[in-house]
């Protein structure tokens, strides 16, 4: 089929994906490109755009809580702001964060393929993502205002409130569809397009985690799709499905919601764990400790993570046996997660550690994720769960996991792969300064929430008693430090896309995985010849030569 083949003149060198424009020009060469690398960049840009909104809403929320009583907004606005913050951060930043951006860009490269299995479906999934994102933001401008239900959309309130819940529901539905298509694409790609010689146990660990994530995306997302659709149908047509006035059961909604939304937190964290597993061996300059354990723990997390949803509902009415079983399963999920943390630290032990910026962020991940994970165990304990249920303890816990974990994972990935993606290097010193701002700001912002939550401060409350004031004050100041860090970090990165020092060498960090053995930035089709893999991904040797045997 030569109609798709385009011949261009590049002085004998294959053009990089940044140079090759395809059929369109300018913006069109991006938004209609089926190149997985360009789609990855598209996602990156849209993600940062939505993230800015999410941060803004979080900032406003914290500002309102700086002192008891009204500070800058009325309670209704506050409810809408925290809903938007949640919806945007979860569906538009954390879930697509690593798979859609770095998975798209690097998954095919890491397994030695030219593209994903279904490039056009890949582009479609970005379009769905964009439409969903715009819908979510658009709801603010329409009469009625954006949803005020919280990102959980609990019925019956979500059926009765007068705000534009439909828009937010549809946004989440469409974004779910986009996520399914990405997962489906990755699973098929991993099965079908691995380079010759790349057996399952020669795959880089990030591929294992993306693969496990893909399955969770495919198997869990449809459930929330249908559940949100049913709530929308209930609002549109008054069909009785969950509304107790018509015989429905709201607790059933909660079950259906969490059957997706708990596995969804593993969609968020697994890919970040994959990134950390790539970065640690490269900067410790030694092979990863316990490759198979890390690989299987990804699958283990995906498996057990799908069976623990009801631990969100211990106080919602459930049999004692049910509570007991879900509590035990919750503890079991901690095992594979801990296996990963122990293996990363074991990899660092006696390594020749080079403290590059990506390792800073990766270590930040391990520290914050460990706190987040351990406090998760508190909540898995039935008795303590009742004490901390719906308090800001929970808010602190999931921010430690989702932001301290996945968020820092995304930052790690950004700093690790930036030179490969753009062929430029950012300022290392600034990146490290930004890290300290982020790290200190983060702990100032979220740690007080553990304490006040323990003392009984409910989450999502607009107002509070004076004895909580000091914690809220520290937390709000922390948010300013954190945002300063974000501004420094993003300015450094964005500025470097144009002005950073040019990177010509293939292997900036001395990694052994395949992306470091192709030109920087990657050529259009990644590999001139598909490599044959003979060794595992983390085999460091004294004399580092690319180990690619060329196959013609």
């Amino acid at each position: 089929m030569s109609s798709d083949a385009i011949t261009i003149d590049v002085n004998g060198k294959e053009p990089s994906y940044l140079e090759y424009k395809g059929k369109g020009r300018g913006l069109k060469s991006w938004i209609f490109s089926t190149d997985h690398k360009r789609i990855g960049i598209l996602y990156l840009v849209s993600l940062i755009f939505f993230y800015a909104f999410g941060v803004l809403f979080g900032f406003l929320m914290r500002l309102e809580l700086i002192a008891p009583g009204r500070t800058i907004m009325d309670p209704q606005t506050y409810n809408q702001i925290f809903t938007l913050h949640g919806v945007i951060m979860i569906f538009l930043f954390v879930i697509p964060g690593i798979p859609a951006v770095f998975g798209n860009f690097f998954l095919p490269i890491l397994i030695g393929a030219k593209d994903v299995a279904f490039p056009r479906i890949n582009l479609l999934s970005w379009w769905l993502f964009a439409v969903g994102g715009v819908l979510a933001i658009l709801s603010i401008l329409l009469p009625g205002g954006s949803a005020d239900t919280g990102w959980t959309f609990y019925v019956p309130y979500s059926v009765r409130t007068g705000t534009n819940v439909i828009f937010t529901l549809m946004a989440a539905f469409i974004l779910g569809f986009s996520s399914i298509l990405t997962g489906l694409n990755f699973i098929t790609t991993v099965h079908r397009l691995r380079a010759p010689g790349m057996s399952w146990f020669k795959m880089p660990l990030s591929i294992w985690s993306l693969y496990a994530t893909g399955w969770v995306q495919v198997l869990a997302t449809p459930i929330i799709g249908i559940t949100l659709l049913l709530v929308a149908i209930e609002r549109w047509f008054g069909v009785g499905l969950f509304d107790p006035a018509l015989g429905g059961d709201p607790v059933l909604f909660q079950h259906l919601f969490w059957i997706y939304s708990h596995p969804a937190v593993y969609i968020m964290i697994l890919p970040a764990m994959g990134v950390i597993s790539e970065v640690i061996p490269v900067f410790a300059r030694r092979t990863i400790f316990g490759y198979k354990f890390i690989a299987f723990s990804s699958i283990g997390i995906a498996l057990f993570g799908s069976l623990v949803w009801a631990h969100h509902m211990f106080t919602a009415g459930m049999s004692d046996t049910g509570q007991f079983v879900f509590s035990i399963l919750t503890f079991l999920v901690a095992i594979p997660s801990a296996i990963k943390v122990f293996n990363w630290t074991a990899t660092l032990y006696k390594g020749s550690i080079e403290l590059g910026p990506p390792l800073y962020y990766a270590l930040g991940f391990i520290f914050l994720f460990s706190i987040g994970g351990l406090t998760g165990l508190f909540q898995g304990t039935l008795a303590i769960n009742i004490q901390v249920h719906d308090t800001s303890f929970i808010v602190a816990h999931f921010h430690y996991v989702m932001f301290g974990g996945t968020g820092f994972g995304i930052f790690t990935a950004m700093h690790y792969w930036f030179p490969k993606m753009f062929g430029r290097m950012y300022n290392h010193k600034v990146a490290k300064i930004a890290f300290w701002f982020l790290f200190i700001g983060f702990n100032l912002l979220y740690f007080p929430m553990f304490i006040m939550g323990w003392l009984g401060m409910p989450r999502r409350y607009y107002d509070y008693l004076p004895e909580y004031h000091i914690y809220h004050l520290i937390s709000t100041i922390g948010s300013w430090v954190l945002i300063t860090g974000l501004i420094i970090m993003f300015t450094n990165l964005i500025r470097s896309i144009k002005k950073g020092k040019e990177v010509k060498e293939m292997n900036v960090w001395g990694g052994e995985t395949l992306e470091w053995h192709i030109p920087t930035p990657p050529p259009l089709e990644n590999f001139e010849h598909i490599p044959t893999i003979t060794e595992g991904p983390y085999e460091y040797k004294e004399n580092e030569e690319p180990q690619l045997e060329e196959k013609h």
Binding site: A5, R192, V218, V239, G240, L246, G247
Partner: protein
């Protein structure tokens, strides 16, 4: 440095990969309906009597007729794939068109069935409906939502097969490359099999 030309773009064809992608997609569809079957079973368990009474309102004859139509359409779909494998293009097109006609027939029946219900005042939010017992409201709510969403899938399937017919006429789908038609067929069988579960749950268990 000498100037040479590079050819960009390669032909990538992987029928097994395409099939795998389709099966994964079908999983997601099954889970989507699975969520509703889950609701149905819980609500049925909670309102056994009311579901029993409400199910008597449904017209088993139309339901049977529609089941027969869909089963036949699955047969014609499978025949059209076999026909293309045997390089009989016209026969394949014929069977695809028959499948589409059967799909339309199903929708026409559905239309009459729903209109009859609505004429009796049985639709979400109506006074008659709100006057019923809560379990019955749930039954009819699920009936409309589940058969409605299934109907939507029938329409999507019919459009999909329509596209396949066009591709077959143009020769894109042929004896050597029929994975697209096969995937459309898989989708159609899924639509069929979901109906096979809907039919007894709503029409037969009274």
């Amino acid at each position: 440095m000498t100037t040479e030309q590079h050819t960009i773009g390669h032909v990538h064809r992987d029928d097994i990969g395409s099939r795998m992608g389709m099966w994964l997609f079908l999983f997601t569809e099954l889970l989507l309906f699975g969520g509703m079957f889950f609701l149905y079973s819980v609500y049925r368990f909670m309102n056994v009597e009311a579901f029993h009474v409400a199910a008597k309102e449904l017209n088993t004859l139309i339901g049977c007729f529609n089941t027969a139509i869909l089963l036949t359409s699955s047969l014609t779909m499978a025949l059209s794939i076999t026909a293309i494998q045997k390089d009989n293009k016209n026969l394949s097109i014929f069977f695809q068109v028959v499948t589409i006609v059967l799909a339309l027939g199903f929708m026409v029946n559905k239309y009459f069935e729903w209109t009859a219900k609505i004429d009796h005042g049985l639709f979400p939010g109506s006074e008659t409906m709100l006057g019923l017992e809560q379990g019955e409201i749930l039954f009819f709510g699920l009936y409309y939502v589940m058969t409605g969403l299934h109907g939507l899938h029938v329409i999507i399937g019919a459009v999909l097969i329509g596209v396949m017919t066009r591709l077959t006429i143009k020769g894109v789908i042929n004896k050597d490359s029929f994975v697209k038609l096969e995937s459309a067929g898989l989708y159609w069988h899924l639509v069929d099999i979901i109906w096979i579960f809907l039919f007894p749950l709503f029409y037969l268990i009274t």
